[in-house]
Symmetry: C2
Subunit: 252 residues, 2 copies
DNA sequence: CGAAGGCTTGATAGACCTCAAACACAGTGG
DNA sequence: CCACTGTGTTTGAGGTCTATCAAGCCTTCG
């Protein structure tokens, strides 16, 4: 997908990823929306597995996800990977680099992705002029933290079944919030290895649990497409309560 | 401990918990320090196990830890507890409630503690007048998130040994940063159950691992007192790298 | 001295891991 | 059109780290 294609189709105010995302966690004024649209950025396409930012970097810009699917991860000395969050279009996963100099983790493309790099200076200038946007950005990083906490509880205290079900509920809810999921069906370019690395499990075990979830007719997941066949029972298994996502409009 | 005692001893500018804490993550000007000192708050003493803020609350104030030791936690439906962070004097664990209406977790006293409740309005006013303080507070919540990430990796991908060693390294480093640990020796009013709940383990297993760490002459931990006997080897076991704490002065 | 909270120990069990190989499927190239 | 390759998924057998259950023990404190 070429840069021009992206710019002409994707960045219309009505479907600009950043505005869509912001609308899920705040209610910006028309002027603030315009200011957000005017943020300068340089677009870059990344292949699967490429790093958007690397552990140890000292970024001078933030990455806005425009298309694709990315993750935040860390490696142990033994080389084991822990994924700490997934990001969808509209997210700015390294917003924190505004106030934390050194990256203590990496952000990588789970699927081929397009990102817009926004200079720190531009963001600093924006939030200086629009305190409400500063508050929204701060809020966004706080919601990130809320998601970390939810994942921690899952990894630390819940069964593999519950964890996997919960992850699928969370992603579905977030995709629906930005309007990227028709009904309970969505494109989810994720592998079983990715799921394993995000939940502290092995791919083998993830595979076995997914089979059970399919057998119980709760989900359908293959070739990058997820369909929740029984939302009520799945969210029950997951003990899913979307409060922690702190969405303004909680799309049921 | 009475309120008067606290006020007369603890809140001298030179040893005010909030100023000490802030100094570990930022470099406020004299004027900003004064403004921080002038924050109004009402002091309250809490017994062990009392909630400072509860899951589901909609706080209108933030809690500054003045004395003691508290934790952030969540319960599963089955009643299992996951502790997500520990807080020491100077911390404001629910600073996030400024921008996130509903608490998605509780904060409780691990040991008897004294907290100062600061009205949201006072904080909002402060950060409106001092953008640098706003940045510092934002940074503080970002560092909280960094700690969550570090814990997630531990729980998801590391052995019980590594996790326990890491927790002890982290707490020691943080206590040292605020000047609450002489050398590698500190008062740590924590039970083995608390450790288990913070690392996704059972108390029984924590007990066994602690015994090994003692046998290997790495630590001494009993009756609320921790002494690291071999920092180098312990941080090796822990794969401890304090970068993620983002302290301004990294006390070795 | 009794009670309570925390720590320790032993025996057993199970969820999840490890290793290893086979299978499915899409894309590529001859 | 069909091998060929690569990535991702599935299956099987065995192993282990950590959980569970159940007592007993030690301090502290009223």
């Amino acid at each position: 997908m070429s840069v021009t294609t992206v710019q002409s189709n994707l960045l219309h105010p009505d479907r600009h990823p950043l505005l869509r995302k912001i609308a899920t966690i705040a209610e910006p004024t028309e002027e603030e929306r315009r200011a957000l649209l005017n943020l300068p950025f340089s677009i870059k396409s990344l292949p699967q597995h490429a790093d958007i930012v690397s552990d140890g970097d000292r970024p001078t810009q933030c990455a806005l996800i425009l298309e694709g699917f990315t993750c935040r991860y860390k490696l142990t000395h033994a080389g084991k990977r822990q994924i700490m969050s997934f990001h969808i279009p509209g997210d700015i996963p390294d917003l924190q680099s505004l106030y934390i100099e050194v990256m203590d983790h990496g952000i990588g493309a789970v699927a081929p992705s397009t990102v817009g790099y926004i200079p720190h200076d531009a963001i600093r200038d924006l939030i200086r002029r629009y305190p409400a946007i500063a508050a929204t950005f701060w809020r966004d990083t706080l919601i990130d933290a809320a998601v970390f906490r939810q994942w921690m509880m899952g990894i630390g205290r819940r069964s593999a079944h519950g964890r996997i079900a919960h992850l699928l509920c969370e992603l579905t809810t977030r995709f629906r919030a930005i309007g990227a999921a028709a009904d309970y069906s969505l494109d989810l370019p994720i592998t079983q290895v990715d799921i394993a690395d995000s939940l502290g499990l092995t791919p083998v075990h993830v595979n076995r649990v997914l089979q059970e979830l399919r057998r119980d007719d709760l989900i359908e997941l293959r070739r990058g497409h997820l369909r929740i066949k029984n939302w009520d029972r799945l969210s029950e298994v997951a003990e899913f309560d979307p409060t922690y996502l702190h969405l303004t409009q909680t799309a049921a």
